[in-house]
């Protein structure tokens, strides 16, 4: 008699688990720690997580699944993200297909949108950055302007002149320098970096032109500011190199060339610089991120083609925030991946986590090693 | 000599296969055909293409899902006066036409522009509000210039916004009811031979009446296929002896 009851309870239990797992909101799963390089080397980059859009936070409760409630509304997710930026606990991801910027708030568990209203409607958002007042700058490649909004999505102004040297033919990557109040915009079709004032949006100067020599570009795409000294690093995509200039556009040095070996580039796109001056370059042909020091020496590369953590499918934009978190727009995987650079400051702030990594033994060391 | 004969045979086969299956080419829906009364004023504007008036392989109208890769700007807020004032004589509610019927009505309602093309053939030429190309509705006697909307002229092809005098669309097909109105046959009734249909949508094996419905409703495409130029009114089955009507109405 009691056996039958236990049996029924067990069956109900199993059914319950099944229903729960069927439609429940995604709960964080226990996964292997993903970080590079593997022990015994000093760990440097740690995978934190991925964001897709509203479905990261919305889901159907177990009760809804049991009652057979249809999906209330389809969650809005990223389709093809390119530009990415982060500050104030928000992750901004520009989607070139949905033509909006997703503002993902992991703490508040919600997603809002910028650039979908009539005022400041985006066509092809590419580069994104955000200043200390929370003003969001989005380069629109089709509209030939950099639009400025507040975090809630209210349109403020547009930067870029209709004629003359301040005209943007096709703006792509952008970067802000708070100290000298400048906005650096890469103009792909004009092969120049154009600099505007953050104070009044006026055009200040431009540097570069089309060519092969140092200081010249061939379809440059992205740019990052070294927050220590104001230098800018420009991804000179179709010259397959990264060039470094000072804040006034004076050429300092260059590194990289076309190739398929570590230290060379085939389709370099997003770039970011952390608080210790390390340069991260995403390459869409290799589907990885290569890491250099500010002199251009190769430190490491992470990632390969795939869909899992630390794997990419046509990575595009890249951004390093002030806490040394690295955001990569994994465009064909429809997500933004977040990594942490384990700086000295991070190691001091999280000594326990650091210890965990140093002592970590992956369950299958041979398998997780990269080829 | 042999080579010549061989190539001649191949060419002949090629022409045969392409022409026997060229349905929309040369029909009333071929808006590049200079023989049509309602057509592009200068077919060279659209590279003499036929498909481009409704479809485009890249850069389609993503707001409209009534037809795949739609290439026209379409006002989906147009409210139509529906058949029977909202109800058929059999008591079925008639809703606004579904998106798939709005695709047809975007030319035939006399309100939306026929000459609106979002993505013109060739490089560039993309406009989210639709490029209005030079058009004529009287065989070239007068030309509606580029930039001006050309709507369906009055006549039998102008279905208009008053659908009260047209077979109902946007209406649930109630052939599976216990006492179906209008002598409708069940959805699993096989379609007669020669009925042109692509794809099995309703889950009943083989071509059945259910495959003609969209979301369970009758729409324009239930009886018409806009590509089927072989039939003068683009009917899926010639209506000899009212065979098309009798497919659904067992009178």
């Amino acid at each position: 008699m009691s056996r039958k009851i236990i049996g029924k309870v067990l069956v109900l239990f199993v059914i319950g688990i099944f229903i729960y797992s069927c439609g429940g909101a995604k709960k964080p799963q226990k996964i292997e720690k993903v970080f590079w390089p593997l022990p015994p080397e000093e760990p440097r980059i740690l995978y934190l997580g991925s964001y897709h859009g509203e479905s990261d936070f919305k889901g159907r409760s177990a009760l809804d699944v049991l009652l057979g409630e249809p999906e209330r509304e389809i969650p809005k997710n990223l389709i093809k993200p390119y530009g990415v930026a982060a500050r104030f606990g928000r992750i901004l991801a520009g989607d070139t297909v949905a033509a909006v910027v997703f503002v993902i708030d992991p703490k508040g568990k919600k997603v809002s949108f910028i650039g979908d209203k009539a005022m400041g409607k985006l066509r092809i958002p590419v580069g994104i950055d955000i200043d200390k007042e929370g003003k969001v700058y989005v380069a629109d490649a089709r509209n030939q302007r950099v639009f400025v909004y507040d975090l809630k999505g209210k349109f403020k102004t547009a930067i870029g002149e209709p004629e003359g040297p301040g005209k943007l033919e096709r703006p792509a990557g952008i970067a802000i320098n708070e100290k000298n109040q400048r906005l650096y915009v890469v103009d792909v079709m004009d092969h120049r970096v154009k600099v505007y004032s953050l104070v009044d949006g006026k055009f200040l100067f431009a540097f570069g032109k089309r060519g092969r020599n140092p200081g010249e570009f061939n379809f440059p795409t992205n740019i990052a500011v070294d927050r220590r000294n104001g230098n800018v690093a420009v991804v000179d995509t179709m010259n397959f190199r990264v060039q470094i200039f000072n804040q006034d556009g004076k050429f300092l040095r260059t590194f990289g060339k076309l190739g398929i070996v570590p230290g060379t580039f085939a389709r370099p796109k997003g770039i970011g610089i952390d608080s210790e001056g390390h340069i991260y370059v995403a390459d869409a042909a290799f589907n990885n991120v290569q890491i250099f020091d500010d002199k251009g020496n190769l430190l490491l590369w992470i990632g390969k083609f795939g869909f899992g953590p630390g794997e990419f499918n046509l990575p595009a934009g890249l951004y390093v925030d002030r806490a040394d978190r690295i955001y990569v727009a994994d465009s064909m995987n429809k997500r933004v991946q977040v990594f942490q650079y384990l700086s000295e400051a991070w190691k001091k702030k999280y000594p326990e986590k650091y210890r965990e990594l140093k002592l970590y033994k992956p369950s299958n060391l041979k398998k997780t090693q990269e080829k | 000599m042999k080579r010549l004969v061989l190539s001649g045979i191949i060419a002949a086969v090629g022409i045969m296969t392409t022409s026997s299956l060229a349905l929309i080419d040369g029909s009333k829906h071929d808006l590049s055909d200079p023989n049509n009364k309602i057509r592009a004023a200068n077919p060279a504007d659209v590279n003499n293409e036929i498909c481009a008036f409704c479809h485009t392989p890249h850069g389609s109208n993503t707001d409209f899902v009534g037809a795949p890769l739609w290439n026209k700007a379409i006002d989906t807020t147009v409210t139509y006066q529906v058949y029977g004032g909202g109800q058929t004589t059999g008591g079925t509610t008639v809703d606004q036409p579904g998106d798939v019927s709005r695709a047809c009505l975007s030319c035939h309602d006399g309100v939306n522009a026929i000459n609106s093309i979002i993505n013109l053939p060739g490089s560039g030429g993309w406009s989210s509000t639709g490029n209005l190309i030079a058009f004529t509705t009287d065989g070239g006697a007068t030309t509606i210039p580029a930039g001006t909307a050309a709507t369906m002229p009055p006549g039998i092809t102008q279905i208009g916004t008053d659908l009260r005098n047209d077979h109902p669309v946007g209406v649930m097909y109630r052939g599976d009811d216990a006492n179906p109105p209008a002598s409708l046959v069940p959805t699993n009734t096989a379609l007669p031979a020669g009925f042109v249909i692509a794809g099995d949508r309703d889950g009943n094996p083989g071509p059945t009446v259910g495959d003609l419905l969209r979301g369970g409703k009758v729409e324009c495409v239930s009886c018409h296929d806009p590509h089927l130029g072989e039939n003068p009114t683009f009917l899926r089955l010639p209506n000899d002896n009212s065979a098309l009507c009798l497919t659904c109405h067992a009178k």
Binding site: T96, L258, G263, A316 | -
Partner: protein, 203 residues
């Protein structure tokens, strides 16, 4: 194309074919990313060679002799060439997306070149772009059979089957486009009268 088998250093000694079949094509199109004011912006090879036009996409065949590469953060790590565009040493990872399509998409992202996306709407209708990476269903009502001839298509495509036979039966960018051709929009066949569309669609 035998050129692909040689490393970049050997390109130097290959005679440059004046008006070679592919070179002539790209030079006059928007895919010529190397030429500026009569000179080639040549990333790797000393001197000016027409083959510089090829490197942007045919990256796999670049010279791989590398000097002294070491990862400062992981000195023990093996140094090897990167697999490109979704491939591994054993071949492409995905059955549905061919590496050649990944090459197209790596530039057609909105910034380098006009944006291309594909997919279905929530109701299942195709939006954005013609369906791609899907199996060509030859038994569909309005699609021509595999042996339907294609007249005048570039790249030795004589039958519908030629467009998909190298790609597990699935449509790719290269089914309709040939990045080397001088046809407008890099189409394999000029689409006058919608002849490209009707090559596969029996409408």
């Amino acid at each position: 194309m035998t050129a692909y088998l040689y490393a970049a250093e050997d390109f130097v000694s290959l005679p440059v074919e004046e008006g070679g079949e592919y070179e002539k094509g790209i030079r006059a199109t928007k895919h010529n990313l190397a030429e500026y004011k009569g000179k080639f912006l040549n990333p790797n090879i000393a001197g000016e060679y027409n083959l510089a036009l090829c490197m942007w996409c045919h990256t796999q065949n670049i010279d791989v002799t590398f000097v002294d590469v070491e990862y400062k953060w992981d000195p023990e790590k093996e140094v090897d060439k990167f697999p490109v565009y979704g491939q591994t040493k054993k071949g492409p990872v995905l059955k549905s997306v061919a590496p050649s399509s990944m090459v197209c998409l790596s530039c057609h992202d909105g910034a380098n070149a006009p944006n291309i996306t594909f997919g279905k709407s929530s109701t299942g209708t195709s939006v954005h772009s013609h369906p791609v990476f899907v199996i060509y269903r030859k038994d569909r009502k309005y699609l021509r059979p595999y042996n339907s001839p294609l007249i005048g298509w570039e790249g030795k495509k004589h039958f519908v089957y030629d467009l998909i036979k190298d790609y597990n039966g699935r449509l790719q960018c290269a089914s309709c486009h040939d990045p080397h051709t001088t046809n407008p929009l890099f189409l394999r066949s000029k689409n006058r009268g919608s002849k490209l569309c009707t090559g596969c669609h029996a409408l």
